[in-house]
Amino acid sequence: MFTELFDAFDWEEVKQSILSKTEQDVTEALNKDRRNLEDFKALISPAASPYLEQMALISQELTRKRFGKTIQMYIPLYLSNECQNICTYCAFSLDNKIRRKTLSDAEILQEIAVLKKMGYDHVLLVTGEANLTVGVPYLQNAIRLIKPHFTHVSLEVQPLDTNDYQELIKEGLSTVLVYQETYHKENYKLYHPKGKKSNFNYRLETPDRLGKANIHKIGLGTLIGLEDWRTDCFFTALHLDYLEKTYWQTKYSVSFPRLRPIELAGSDETVLKEYNNYMSDRELVQLICAWRLFNTELEISISTREEEHFRNHLIQLGITSISAGSKTNPGGYIVEPESLEQFEISDERSPAEIASMIRAQGYEPVWKDWDKTFGH
């Protein structure tokens, strides 16, 4: 399990070793064909900042060679906002006293009809963690309803056991995203004080359980804003490196959601809570390029959390998939547009608008890149 490897590292030591990387470390990393974890540290370090344009050029070239001039399209479908966890940054948090909603079978079908009309073939199912109402049987049923309409079904829900994943894979599940949120073990408790999610190790070992279940693809990531993003991203890279070697038949993706404003009970407006670790646009670009230079085959996705102008410019820099037209509330597409959303999105353009923005840059939006014959 990854835990054994992880426990040998110390957060502060890692952080210092990243911050102490020099320009020479950076230029050496840039000049290599194959880059290791130390090179990744150099590329995300402040010392690499002056080399951003050079990193972007290499990132673009590597991405085009591996993925071509294509961008994969996906869309989230929120099934429920019920949640038994307290997470200090999330609107679905148990202590946020707002009416909750879980989609019924008929409502799921109504929602997916809208997504199909938009042109989607890859859907990401999202819920909070409420095991009684939205447990494995609910997810099983939901995938059974959805699978005939989408060849690629992904899931972003609470961590499950290996045998649960195996059951869901049988129904047609291809991908599971499970973000550690932060690899800072002590502070993880502060952000997740209550509920099953407060068990750090159970979450940390989720990708292992997914690998054992022989899932097609695993998505990793941390929330940007909670702790030092460089250190968190190093641990994500360490995790990825371990997983690629251990579960070599599985594909991997990363993403790095920056925290967004959320709606709290008793407030008319959404609130951007104070976070300690702000990340600039420039740093996010540096991170994307560093990931690409570290791992040529890795899928990198960008959601509607990011703003229009910024997303337009990311298309050619190393990302491989993008969402558009997203709603982050259950029923958001047609059933109940006003229900509680997980966070406020930044880019409100429709899928068709995003697709033409991609085409205008000489890239092809790809809606279907998987087949029902594969992976389960």
Partner: protein, 256 residues
Amino acid sequence: MKHLNIAGKEFKSRLFLGTGKFGSPEEMEAAVLASQSELVTVALKRVDLNTQTDTLINYLNHKHINILPNTSGARNAKEAVFAAQLAREALETNWLKLEIHPDPKYLLPDAVETLKATEELAKLGFIILPYIHADPVLCKQLEDAGTAAVMPLGSPIGTNKGLRTQDFLEIIIEQSKVPVVIDAGIGAPSDAAKAMELGADAVLVNTAIASSRNPVEMALAFKLAVEAGRTAFEAQLATTRQHAQASSPLTSFLNF
């Protein structure tokens, strides 16, 4: 230039193309047309069989172009056989590029599963072109199993590194009774020409064309290189020599 014959079908062009990684279907179509290729491979996973207006296939709707569906994404023989049957039904062809790569990172082919799938698919009447390592023994085994051609890789797929496996390709070309199509890794027209000079029957190119700055011009360059290489092969290249041979110090005594 002699025509190529695979499973009884004649091809004027010895350049096969992949259809992935292009910036738009229009660009892909233009490159395919410029290459004058008559066989292009399409990933089943990219084809939307539910809609009649699948963009990829529509852009390949030209009389001289034959579609070669591939099983990219299959991790074992079972998935590949299932995908092959779907492709045959949907695209109305029993031609198949068999790709089985359990490793999604480097997309390297699985010899054991590929042989297994070839045996099964041959019985089901498919014309199989399997993507494999440059493994001469595997090529003979695939022949015995009923493959229509073999497609050994020149170097890891998508790397544009050229013919890193040349020594093994030469053995395969020497021994093979079925056409040898060099598949992955061909990065420049000179690589394609070299492959043809070695006696390969055809080459398949994708990344080198699709990810170049000008895919249409590059497709044309590959067409010319393949023709040049093949013509040179048919004309029989003069053998290269390590030393100039002005005199024969060891045997000249025989002349006296």
